[in-house]
Symmetry: D2
Subunit: 149 residues, 4 copies
Amino acid sequence: MSETFRLTRQVEFNHCDPAGMVFYPRYFEMISATIERFLADIVDYGWSSMGVSENGMGTPMGQINVRFANPSYLGEWLDLDLTLARLGTASATFDIHCSSKGEARFDCEATIIHAKTGGGKSAPWPDDARACMAAYLTATTPTQKEPET
Amino acid sequence: MSETFRLTRQVEFNHCDPAGMVFYPRYFEMISATIERFLADIVDYGWSSMGVSENGMGTPMGQINVRFANPSYLGEWLDLDLTLARLGTASATFDIHCSSKGEARFDCEATIIHAKTGGGKSAPWPDDARACMAAYLTATTPTQKEPET
Amino acid sequence: MSETFRLTRQVEFNHCDPAGMVFYPRYFEMISATIERFLADIVDYGWSSMGVSENGMGTPMGQINVRFANPSYLGEWLDLDLTLARLGTASATFDIHCSSKGEARFDCEATIIHAKTGGGKSAPWPDDARACMAAYLTATTPTQKEPET
Amino acid sequence: MSETFRLTRQVEFNHCDPAGMVFYPRYFEMISATIERFLADIVDYGWSSMGVSENGMGTPMGQINVRFANPSYLGEWLDLDLTLARLGTASATFDIHCSSKGEARFDCEATIIHAKTGGGKSAPWPDDARACMAAYLTATTPTQKEPET
């Protein structure tokens, strides 16, 4: 069974656009915050300890896909639920499902690369970080070689 | 031959993160601005004239996929080049290629829906808007039935 | 004795600039959020219930002064403590003191106007809102008639 | 006669709030951009060349006061006009007047400090930067020694 990491955020005025709904670029700040807190608070390998501002390591975004379901409004509480779809040697693909009181708002698939800052080379995840993240892999991932029958 | 709409932006301090590179949620603000100016300045059917803040029509984002190629740095000039991949009855899928001096920064595919604000019903594009947007469809889209030869 | 309303926020990556510190425009989003939550959660007269997005009432900023003391860094917890310096017929002047573990980060004085949205006319605060806000006036404000000596 | 530096910006959807007007924290991003371009393009001593992201020098904000006059709306063009009110050994106080077609939007007084990044010590402006900035001092500033009476 995989674990799920949840970040909860209330929709604020600064997230909303003239149509009164969350402006989608603000969702990407929430997505970033979800990954930020997961790495710092759960994996214990956050952007501060990586040295992202001191030419250390970082986790640049490689690819991100988001499908929007329903609009979000001022004052609503959003649950951002994170699991891992794939855990590569130097990458991680998150599934982030956002909902409010169970109603879907968006689904996001985001792949980060563990790499030297400044567009530098990728590097394997530290062992402790990898072990911790593995608990959040969804059940059937990664598919290991099946025994012959 | 399809036309291309270009928005050019300089990377500012407010776009950059502690690693000194553009923070990817800021790219989504640039993507939004590219679509905003295309609709307002080229299609002559912008968010003001749609009445997005007065319970009129809007263009909520349906799905957006972005693949990042190289980081962008303070002071660089970015070219955001927009074409149309698909033009539906009440939707439009944009391809936005971002580069700086010809070096790729990201590729974006974004599908907007022409709909009543507040999560309302979709509605066909006005004829004039559709005709104008069609010029930006990439060459082979949509493939019409070819005449027999 | 006046009461104090506190909002606590953790510094996130999206708040930080290439110098690794909070970029000061992000502080203004936190200031806005402090006033937003005070009005909604304490005064029970928030921007949703005012109808700020439906041509109802709003609280545009009239004047804001901020003096910065020390920089804030990724991961720090900030306390934003709000009191009222003045409560006018249709305005309110907040004092917001921001600190982290007791170290000052900035002091803000912000005056909002209770007015019709869209640059409309100001209007007196509703009685219930006024009564609630008055508890947050700092002790010596407003100066009442002094007893004769 | 003092010179004036002007930055012109169009109000975009991402600047606007549910009341359909510019959300004031976005003005602070424009204020930052005005100072950024003035330092980089006019003074030839911008944040990149100071080494703000490499533990070099920076210009943290010391104090900023803004008085708002009229709201700004989607699509409007804003002129941000910068002059210098005071030029200290290691500081500069800007006056930034924002207007649209001559109608006032806000007036800002902002004092930056020339200092080592990370909350470090202030340091005198380089001579070339100082000489260049001096041309933007408003006419009667700085007040020189008064004649004896």
